[in-house]
């Protein structure tokens, strides 16, 4: 009992395969007599016919599939984004091929190559570094792409991201309202647009509040990780710099601070307040529950999928970029400064 093909349907309906194809395809259905179309549809139904997407792809060079390039699915930031992407794509009749680059450029190139050879109709890329020759090349080759959470230097690509400036401004305003004035920033990697943006937004926010923008109070982390966050905070403490609050580049960096607090017997928020960024899961169960900036991840994914679908359907349309508004989630890692 082999799966039925178009020929089987045509035979059962008593028409030529080409006619059956036209009848089955909503696009071309108007070309065929309404009555025969009905016959064909009934035949397909009764056989449980499912078109073979592989054969279709071979013929049409399309696939109803888009590639989703993620650095690391293990980072809790990404699964909700993926879900948002999938839900929108599914509704539009598309599928998502998810791929993990592990932050390895070689691996990424191989994976993208494999996606392209499978005729994906576009790419949603969440791995962009500021310098990203692969993306430049793909763009030159006319591959439709949408960036998530990142931008790439010198490339006008549609993108969707959280409004980081607004998020950092919320954090700083919250700390200032609590009475802090010596505020440090543990910045993300300056090789990522996010890291650069948030650091700049931090400086701007400080200036807007009439506070000194002291370069000695900003330390860069090599990665968006707990261990790098811990490293950076240790470095900062060891300089003897004075500060009562930390704006961390993201939640992982903020959690790294917790490790240092434990090491050195520092009380949070009594001695140092900390604000994170991203609203990872389970922050409310941390010790102390982490104040952070919440990002609408799921919605970002959905928006990215919509942008890509637009790009596929109207390739000439000017690239749009959308910014999603964040919100501050106040928990127990921030409080008035001790003195």
């Amino acid at each position: 009992m082999t799966t039925p093909t178009l020929r089987d349907v045509a035979q059962l309906a008593g028409v030529h395969p080409a006619t059956a194809s036209r009848a089955l395809n909503p696009q071309t259905r108007p070309l065929v007599n309404a009555e025969t179309a009905r016959k064909v549809l009934r035949a397909a139904e009764s056989l449980g016919y499912q078109p073979n997407p592989i054969a279709r792809s071979l013929k049409t060079a399309r696939s109803s599939t888009v590639g989703v390039v993620i650095p690391d699915l293990t980072n809790p930031l990404f699964p909700p984004i993926v879900r948002g992407i999938e839900d929108v794509l599914t509704t539009a009749g598309y599928n998502a091929w998810i791929v993990n680059t592990d932050n390895d450029a070689g691996r990424e190139e191989a994976l993208v190559e494999s996606l392209r050879s499978r005729q994906v109709e576009g790419l949603i890329v969440a791995t962009a570094r500021r310098e990203h020759p692969l993306l430049v090349r793909l763009h030159d080759q006319g591959v439709r792409m949408v960036l998530v959470n990142r931008k790439v230097d010198g490339l006008e690509l549609p993108s969707v991201a959280a409004d980081d400036d607004a998020g950092v401004a919320l954090s700083v305003a919250h700390l200032v309202a609590l009475g802090h004035s010596r505020i440090a920033h543990l910045a993300g990697p300056q090789g990522t647009s996010t890291g650069v943006n948030r650091a700049r937004a931090f400086r701007h926010a400080m200036i807007d509040h009439g506070l000194p923008d002291d370069p000695a109070l900003t330390v860069e982390c090599g990665y968006w990780s707990e261990s790098e966050g811990a490293l950076a905070l240790r470095k900062l403490l060891d300089t003897g710099a004075e500060f009562t609050a930390v704006v961390a580049g993201n939640d992982l960096i903020a959690l790294g601070c917790y490790d240092v607090f434990a090491e050195r017997g520092i009380e949070c928020p009594l001695q140092i307040s900390v604000v994170g960024f991203n609203e990872m899961p389970f922050l409310d169960k941390m010790r102390p529950p982490l104040t952070t900036v919440a990002i609408p991840h799921y919605e970002i994914g959905g928006e990215a999928a919509r942008l890509l679908l637009d790009t596929i359907e109207e390739p000439e349309r000017h690239p749009r970029s959308v910014l999603m508004a964040p919100s501050l989630v106040v928990r127990a890692s921030t409080a008035r400064p001790a003195r």
Copy 2:
């Protein structure tokens, strides 16, 4: 500049496409003269030829792809498993199509259908309920499958899972060693094999330690979630039952207990100790850091991929199931009982 095909390679090498095909394919390379093979390979290299997997699939009815069916990527349990699967598959020249069912049987059926129509060579399924008619049907149709973390009633399928009995035994032994004797179990859904198994393992462990197996001290959760865990613990407390420790079905259920502790002013671990299961990320940052059973997720994924590859290569081989040893991670949510 269109992408080169096999014909281009053949033409450049001055041979027939069929010869080029044989030369390019490691399987059939021995059939062709070593010298011509070299010529073909050089031609392919110089053109940057990449075989078209779609055409190949259409011809061979294979795809070098396996489907990975996950209930919810947002559950931190699954990403490491997926990574393990991907790493092993990639090494073997296969790709993984990851798919999210959202615990919806209809969605699952549609997704599996779509995977099959793309000629996946097998399925790794992490969504199995004990009753799972879809899987039974697929099995009857000869679809190669491996189950992860679950079993299905009445189906002899290769599977890989953590040794839940051992894990629960570790938890109970730890609590008993601390001096607990009134130990409660917040069981997972009894519609899942994991839920049933852990509950049974709990009873056995209690008996093994000569402790009463009191049914009043076990409450079932409807889902593997925080809110259900909280609900179950409230229910248990409201019966007035006496106990000094809780073995939770998984970490989420354990974290649900934390919410109830906060609500009712219960001190953990002073008044009640809690042990989780799974070793989700960031448990060490919780309040209090959660004692739990660690599962080698990444290795489980890798093992599942290996089992599936075995099944694909030796379809007649008897289904093996492998159990991975868990370990106990002792943190601050467990302590000697107060009195």
